[in-house]
Symmetry: C2
Amino acid sequence: MDVAEFRKRGKEMVDYIADYLENIEKRQVYPDVEPGYLRALIPDRAPDEPETFEDVVKDIERVIMPGVTHWHSPYFYAYFPSANSFPALLADMLSGGIGCIGFSWAASPACTELETVVLDWLGKMLKLPEEFLAGTEGKGGGVIQGTASEASLVALLAARARIVKRVKADHPEWTEVDIMNKLVAYASNQAHSSVERAGLIGGIKMKKLPTDSKFSVRGEALRNAIEEDKAAGLIPFFLCATLGTTPSCAFDCITELGPICNIEGIWMHIDAAYAGSAFICPEFRPLLYGIEFADSFNFNPHKWMLVNFDCSAMWVKKRADVIGAFKMDPLYLKHDHQESGLVTDYRHWQIPLGRRFRSLKLWFVLRMYGLRGLQQHIRKQVALAKEFESFLLADERFEICAEVVLGLVCFRLKGSNELNETLLKNINSARRIHLVPCQLGGVFVLRLAVCARTTESRHIHEAWTHISRLASEVLAENRP
Amino acid sequence: MDVAEFRKRGKEMVDYIADYLENIEKRQVYPDVEPGYLRALIPDRAPDEPETFEDVVKDIERVIMPGVTHWHSPYFYAYFPSANSFPALLADMLSGGIGCIGFSWAASPACTELETVVLDWLGKMLKLPEEFLAGTEGKGGGVIQGTASEASLVALLAARARIVKRVKADHPEWTEVDIMNKLVAYASNQAHSSVERAGLIGGIKMKKLPTDSKFSVRGEALRNAIEEDKAAGLIPFFLCATLGTTPSCAFDCITELGPICNIEGIWMHIDAAYAGSAFICPEFRPLLYGIEFADSFNFNPHKWMLVNFDCSAMWVKKRADVIGAFKMDPLYLKHDHQESGLVTDYRHWQIPLGRRFRSLKLWFVLRMYGLRGLQQHIRKQVALAKEFESFLLADERFEICAEVVLGLVCFRLKGSNELNETLLKNINSARRIHLVPCQLGGVFVLRLAVCARTTESRHIHEAWTHISRLASEVLAENRP
């Protein structure tokens, strides 16, 4: 394909995407395919000779679309939102066109510098403490990770390196592994599975802390764990606190946890993957009180801030802590400016070496929506969740299972887990809307997350009417 | 921005990208900016109110382009190639538009299934042993990782989990950390820094093996290390062999290393990040002899197979080994089909949870180039490297520092490291072409990697004439 054909086909693709997103409601939100459906639809090997763009494009509707779960359909209420906006799509096209790999400053200065500056912008929108910003003389700063999982892992590894160094100073006779054997990290029993996985990867004991009736980790739970572990000769060194848990959007009490961590020399990382975007609204900013005690903070603009995946924003107070955990400097990656103290080489901040020019997406979105536009998006989606909550509150067959703080509603039919499992199964089998469940204190719960950017009040009404009707059917069938 | 404006702006962006790539030769390949240049060019905070697309777009040339290192310029010869092709750009646009997050089969069946099938295609193109393919009943299979660094880490963690389980069966009294303390992994002293980093992350001792005169790890080096380590009570469990090292494109001798690993129960991972693409050509396929001994294999189509970053293809013989190292199953990620044995949930195969629909890029590229087109691309770039080598061979001032097997030429002026450092500095300061150095056996060496898809013989001529002239100047200045 030459550049002239790319001009033609690129424009056709823009129209295809525009058509897809404009008419997404007409597609069934969750596919009917069975496992293995795709293999039978395409040859079993790549062609020897080139095919045309037409050959490929006609297979999008024949092969791909029948197996797509449409995350941007207003009938999609599963998991958490995955952002999608036109400014982000345009920026991502540009990022692909430039196609630089920004592992060091020299590998493309603009790629590194825009990221640092735009993360300062974003930090200011969230009113993060000054120490998290890079500025021109700060010791902190932000980085775009691929996912919150990677951010948790990077924080844990940085904390591990810091504590190993600290303990080794007091006990030079202990090996690194001796020390690792004594380390213990903490997270909520509601924390995302990736946090537990970070411990597994890093070879670290990760203990789950109990939560209160609001699924929140309180200071006392942490204090008890620390006492018990210290008495057993262990070294508590890391806490991953969650603001907006995946099951129920619960908030760990960081105003209580933070001071304990600071006194004990424990690294506090905050994972606000979903909820973080809301903190740009003054009315939700109090949810972030206590951030001043944290060593690192992360949220995903690719969830709720209209920046397409992947864009997970992470800040640290002391970037030297992160860099120190990973730094490797082979000659082929060295460059003139790196020891000047003025440049950031993001390869030292992350698990992979290579990285796309992802800050363009953030830059386009922040500018073309403005703070106001993004606040409107958050507020609208919270209002839709509240609207759905109001339907539930008015129907005595249902109960709300966790406080509706942002765009997630956890609910169930009063009654057994089996009843609710049947309801969910029927909802998903009907294919009108798509939900996933969670477990809260041993109870099977349905989660409705307001996801698509184009979800409107009428969709919420429709979802409610549908759920209510299926609930009546389930209840009728299960009448004793 | 509404969908109508997206149609318009998207088409403008396609033209901008087409113009950029069509005229990239006219841009200076390496930027003149100093660290910190960008911050002064844009406001210090995000706007409150939305800006227009015009506002943003005019800043691409004003703010971004002056700081871009142009990886797709035919004057770019640094690092290794980063792929960029029109079919991949089109597929990436589509991937962004669909915007699904394919962490499980249910999250978008097409995203998972296309990946499995297309990696079978690619495996067949490389003539990987049958065991690496998923097929309908295979125990192996492929996955797209973000980078080769992640692939090495995943392989190391899978190997760690396998050996811990194995050792624990014999020594139930040892803790996991006791066992980790005894583990030792190996890689070439020429291996990529990310391999050493994988050891660091996984809390594993990683030993660098010496290489022979061709910078290749031989069986004897591994055998010596194993004997020594076993005598010291350690447990060798993992070897990362490299095919096509970053400094000099050297090849570890896997036909010697493989059988040793198999006998000793050591997991052999092969990192062929750059060179792997060449194995689709029958004449280069012998470089992969010995693959049958490996447990896992990885290469980056995003380097040399015209698939834009990120797309790092990894295969394992036993997918259960990888899945077992990571599996976490919270209720909100469970789905009906997952226990059927028929589906793949790629979240268990990788470090992050979320993942883009990256297989579309591979699918578009394999189909629109065909095997033949991709072979042509590889052969053309190898021929260009050979052409550059021939200029060096004809000029007695220069020496070739490593066999030119694929698209990388390692060379230097006969003489001191300082002389060559000056030459490189002058080359990069002149900004006509861009190179990076490496170190081979303590010697400072210049690397010329044929990178851009559009590099032609005339560019190689030009690069040579330029280097030759600068060499004359340096030699004149340094005449005793």
